[in-house]
């Protein structure tokens, strides 16, 4: 790799770090009842929603921030954050794209997400969330024709209150843990998806989360319900500007799959990771949980985690329905001073339930990467099976990889299989590729992409190529 190129790489490393110069409107800093009431009124919420939020807040007061993650987390002053920020004069979501502020359209354009439908990726509907509000949702009408509801959750609360009431908090209880409860009190926007009975959603649904305002937390709430016999594939992407401060993203994502339904949920997480010295970056503290409520249902999580200063999340499946299946495919890449403590929980409650976990952790620089997982077989989960595979790849010698797989088996007829490997990119592999004309970065990227292949191929095709590039970019500067 010649020197000129390497410099360029550094500058290009996080290409989504720009700030959109748009006047924003924030509510006063701090966490208290009046802030929650203000958020609720900004969203024109019905009374029941506000009460739900306030109950969560009441509970939060007696809760403490969990400290068990294998990560150094600076104390967060929850009174020194903005909990809501939207573009100025954003009273109501624009009815059509023509009414959307061109600066916002331009922002998403720069992020590679054109919102104009004719320019958009064919077969992908997008909900664009900018700080605390959804600014545009594409292909809504087209999806409506077949009964698929795809809209911001704030809109769903008003238009589909019965569905929201029935399912919100049904997978992640309001009182689950500090960040989940915090989210329940102050959540702003995220996506709502309902797939009616026996409908296979014909498009990929995706939400693109963008943090723009400074000193602001983003509290996304997403709820996806797949009714009997339905199918949906959903993808979320995330980016944020480069800033010296740490910003908090604390999301709650709940999935519900009824009888014979399948939800495939993919994440490409590329929040700003902080600079080379570990300054700045997003704290990504996210609670994601899916309930396989019905028999023969299936929930599959795929995550490509490349960004954030700290990633702390365990997308999980509760396999309640008999014969239900949970899957977790993960690539977590940490470079420089990034920290990741991520994994999954598979809770087997029903009979003949199956789960599969494939985790690929890649650590470079001075980063730390932990897989933490729990597989639990309930007494009644007869004939259930889990397969877990955790592979760690180390790049250089200053990084750390840990694997903490927990199992609890209360069923005599169930079986667990676990495989784990830790390897380093060998000098021989790099030399071999370089002897064939690939420079050091290309060689490393080829080897790492090979290591992740099993997970990357789970992604919807439209995003697999992007993800491969992201994997390479995330490790730039880590070869000697």
């Amino acid at each position: 790799m010649n020197k000129v190129n390497k410099e360029n790489f550094k500058q290009d490393a996080y290409k989504y770090g720009f700030v959109t110069e748009i006047e924003d409107e924030k509510i006063p800093k701090g966490l208290n009842e009046s802030v929650i009431k203000l958020i609720s009124s900004k969203k024109n919420e019905p009374e029941w929603m506000l009460e739900w939020r306030l109950a969560a807040y009441e509970r939060l007061k007696s809760m403490e921030v969990p400290k068990w993650a294998r990560a150094n987390i600076a104390d967060i002053d929850f009174q020194d954050l903005y909990y809501y920020s939207s573009p100025k004069d954003f009273k109501e979501k624009p009815k059509s794209l023509e009414e959307v502020d061109p600066k916002l359209l331009e922002t998403y354009e720069k992020l590679g997400i054109p919102l104009k439908e004719q320019e958009a990726l064919a077969g992908v509907a997008v909900d664009a969330v900018f700080d605390s509000v959804s600014v545009a949702t594409t292909f809504k009408e087209k999806l409506n024709e077949i009964g698929v509801i795809f809209c911001p959750i704030s809109e769903a609360i008003q238009k589909h209150p019965d569905l929201v009431k029935k399912y919100i908090g049904s997978v992640i209880p309001v009182t689950d843990h500090f960040y989940a409860t915090l989210n329940s009190a102050v959540f702003s926007d995220g996506s709502f998806v309902y797939i009616p009975k026996n409908v296979k959603c014909p498009m990929e649904l995706s939400t693109y989360f963008r943090i723009n305002a400074s000193e602001t937390g983003q509290f996304e709430r997403t709820l996806i319900i797949a009714d009997e016999g339905s199918y949906v594939s959903y993808l979320e992407g995330c980016t944020a500007p480069m800033r010296d401060e740490n910003q908090l993203h604390a999301a709650n994502v709940e999935l519900v799959a009824l009888d014979n339904a399948e939800i495939k949920y993919s994440t490409v997480q590329n929040w700003y990771p902080g600079d080379e010295n570990g300054k700045g970056g997003i704290y990504n503290f996210v609670t994601k949980r899916g309930l396989c409520k019905g028999k023969n249902s299936k929930i599959s999580w795929t995550q490509i985690e490349t960004g954030s200063a700290i990633t702390w999340k365990y997308p999980s499946c509760i396999l309640r329905g008999d014969n239900s299946t949970g899957e977790f495919y993960s690539v977590a890449i940490t470079n420089n001073h990034q920290q990741a403590d991520t994994g999954t929980k598979m809770i087997h409650l029903g009979k003949n339930t199956k789960s599969r976990i494939v985790s690929k952790g890649i650590s470079a620089g001075k980063s730390s990467n932990t897989y933490r997982g729990l597989v639990n077989f309930h007494r009644k989960a007869e004939n259930s099976k889990n397969y877990t595979q955790c592979d760690s790849l180390l790049v250089g010698s200053n990084c750390k990889a840990n694997t903490i797989p927990l199992t609890e088996n209360n069923s005599n007829t169930s079986s667990l299989e676990h495989e784990a490997t830790t390897s380093k990119i060998s000098d021989d592999q790099l030399f071999y590729c370089m002897q064939r004309g690939l420079d050091a970065e290309e060689a490393q990227s080829l080897i790492v992409n090979g290591f992740c292949k099993e997970v990357l191929q789970q992604l919807p095709m439209e995003f697999a190529v992007e993800a491969q590039k992201l994997v390479s970019i995330s490790l730039e500067g880590s070869v000697g």
Partner: protein, 244 residues
Amino acid sequence: MLEIKNLDVSVEDKQIIKNLNLKIGPGEVHAIMGPNGSGKSTIAHTLAGKPNYLVEAGNVDFKNEDLIAKDPYERSLLGLFLAFQYPIELPGVTNASYLKQILNAHRKSRGENPIDAGEFLKILKEKSKNLNIPMDMHSRFVNAGFSGGEKKKNEVLQMDLLDPSLIIMDETDSGLDVDALKSTSEAVNKLRDGKRSFLIITHYLRLLEYIVPDHVHVFGDGSIIESGDKSLASRIDNEGYEVK
């Protein structure tokens, strides 16, 4: 093509090559023979630029360029190909996509566009056929779980694909049965076009019966101790390395 002058090389503080001199002209096929452990593979690795192979003195001129000053990938792009004695496994990387990527790296350095998928498949089929390589080998991961013969054939396929001007073969015959040795040698002989040069490193005569060299050098104690024509190889085979 290649000129090695007064070369000293050490690996992990141990001097392996001492005052090596060798000149290979365009189209020439040179063989270096030597006993096991004599350091003849060190020549191959040094020319390819393997890290930790430290050039202490001397220089190497390749196509009028200072080879030692270049990175391994630049040497490859300049036309130097090393067929490995022990080809390396790349788990998760399918052979086809790997071959396409290395070909495109070379095309890019020549200012050409990446190869079209259909055209690549055509070339791959044709070249695989020459080596009796079944196409399904290309959907497997690079060298992973390949037999010794498959690995060596894959090396020859790569040299065919990349069209190098100097091919260094490091013990390519090891691990090959007679049939594989024959088809591999035939494929190599097809690449002898009077312009391309070869440096064949081997312990045994048998490879040289198929790929007949113009010059044979005997390597011992870090340097070339005797040079001659192909009859030298037969003599070594009869008398062993000890007798001179």
